[in-house]
Amino acid sequence: MFESFQHLINGFGIAGTIQNLAYCLIGCIVGTLIGVLPGIGPIAGIALLIPATFGLNPTSAIIMLAGIYYGAMYGGSTTSILLNVPGETASVITCIDGYRMAQKGRAGPALAIVAVGSFIAGTIGIFGLVFLAPPLAEAALAFGPPEYFSLMVFGFIVLSNVTGKSLLKSLMMAVIGLIIGTIGIDPVSGDARFTFDSAPLLGGIEFVAVAIGLFGIGEVLVNVNQPSELLDQKVFMPRLRELYPSIQDLRKSIWAILRGTVSGFGIGLVPGPSPVIATYASYMIERKFSKHPEEFGQGAIEGVAGPESANNSACQAAFIPLFVLGIPFAPPTAILLGALLIHGVSPGPLMISQHAGLFWGVLASMYVGNFMLLVLNLPFVPLFANILRIPKRILLPLVILFCMTGMYTVNNSVFDIWMMLLFGAMGFLMRKWAYEAAPLLLALVLGPKLEVAFRQSLMISHGDFGIFTRRPVSMVFLLATALFLVIPLVGILIKARKKGGKA
């Protein structure tokens, strides 16, 4: 442990050079700007700027690209809070309470708590990375297809329980999302499914199109459908001191931030789309721990603080399988793997010994980057919050323009814009009929992985479903799933008996 601490200090020395600080700063600024633009997420941002790093040494290159990664995460949260348009997958849950806070004139505290929570999560996470990376990476190897399947089923049930008022409606949306996720090429056999001989559909339905459509376009259409005098209503603009979190906000958020950090880090170690799962799990945890769970969905600051901290923490933990095992499980880390290989660095078990400077330098730069994001973004909170001063008559068309433009940039395809509009109409109808979009989105992301895990598990067991119950970790997740399903039913039955008794 002492040796790891020493390496970390050396890492700070490497990250603290003027050159590397400058690259980290550039990465954070570019990442934040890219994250704010709908459609262009961290993946596109990192990919666009890899050529710009060819002239740099590997350490500086990865420091800058990593800065883009978490800068984009922060930028994605900004659009989630201000416009209800998730910048990337892990920002979806922030839309739920963050946007409601903005509608109540509390965009400033929401944005600020994201920066503060991410910084605290980053600070604690760096120690987790340093001291827990080797043993935890080995534990992650214990996850096989049955464990992934059970974990993801657990995630769906948990999410369906915590979003919306009807478990049944949320479950239906989750299954619809899973079905949409099957469109395209079967990941196991390679056959085309539900493509109707359409070439664009071979690649499946673009996640960004669904996310921007359901949340962004859907929200705009709901606003357009309001009586015209409501378009002139000004958002309540707070005074300067209300642009930042109050002492009460910080008191409410601190435990959410700490819980989010710990849960996010743990979940981030599990190979897979861990930042997404971490945000949903954190939201569930905060709703359970809250003394006022009815506030969730209406602008509860814990609903923003916890998931955003979990997101940051999980993103850091996702570097462990990348560096220690050489296996990227999230698309942004896959791009970073490509960048490492381009620069002649092969991640893996020998990376720490052969490229110690790069490994510890990048870890230390994550902390520096988090600090930079805090310093950069807190002063901009009033500027971002003032975006809501723009009258809705102008803001709504602006949102549409940026959504359509951003959507086109993903694949240079008009087909994606059509999908976005289709899901926008669907999002509008879902809002009107009180169906939650978050379960559908999570299912779309996890669906292909769930299917692969399901089919691989059954291949291993020769068709025996008992594999899911024989393996201890899988069994634990399935039991937890059953509890989440049974407990609400028991509650309903008890209430019904009490009513019957009174009558």
Binding site: K169, D191, P227, T409, I417, A425, L458, F465
Partner: protein
């Protein structure tokens, strides 16, 4: 009984049924070696079960409760702004490649602002032009993202 909720439940049920039928046209395989149709078939059946349960639950809700007012899709008096708004987006998408990004973005902003009630033409044109130019500079010039050039050729 909320009729609207039941109709939505039926639509979802039909979606599940269609998914199942289309899945049966693909190789299903066995659980030991699943084909491409296996997973969608399971999902289609699951969706039918869930939506069926939802329809039954909605139909047999507590009759002592006040019947819920049917949710109206339209909150405003006239659906015209919504239809025009959607129409403008659809037309922009149709002519995106033909007219090119700068022109489409300008026309889109112009039409959406008008639909939402911006009555001052000069201000409308100014905002549309500035927005279109700004997004062109940001995406095409700074980020080097290729956009359709269309008639203008930019």
């Amino acid at each position: 009984m909320n009729r609207g909720e039941v109709i939505v439940g039926v639509v979802i049920f039909l979606f599940g049924a269609i998914t199942s039928l289309l899945s049966l046209k693909m190789p299903i395989g066995t659980f030991r070696m699943g084909g491409p149709g296996l997973f969608p078939l399971c999902l289609g059946i699951l969706l039918m079960i869930l939506s069926g349960a939802f329809i039954l639950k909605t139909c047999f809700q507590d009759r002592n409760k006040q019947p819920k007012k049917a949710t109206s899709i339209l909150a405003s008096e006239s659906p015209l702004p919504l239809i025009l708004f959607l129409g403008a987006m659809v037309l922009s998408t149709l002519f995106f490649n033909t007219l090119g990004y700068p022109l489409v973005s300008f026309l889109l902003m112009l039409s959406l602002l008008k639909i939402l009630g911006m009555k001052r033409w000069k201000l409308n044109v100014l905002i549309s032009a500035m927005t279109s130019a700004g997004s062109y500079l940001l995406f095409v010039q700074w980020l080097n993202i290729p956009m359709p050039k269309g008639w203008i050729g930019l």
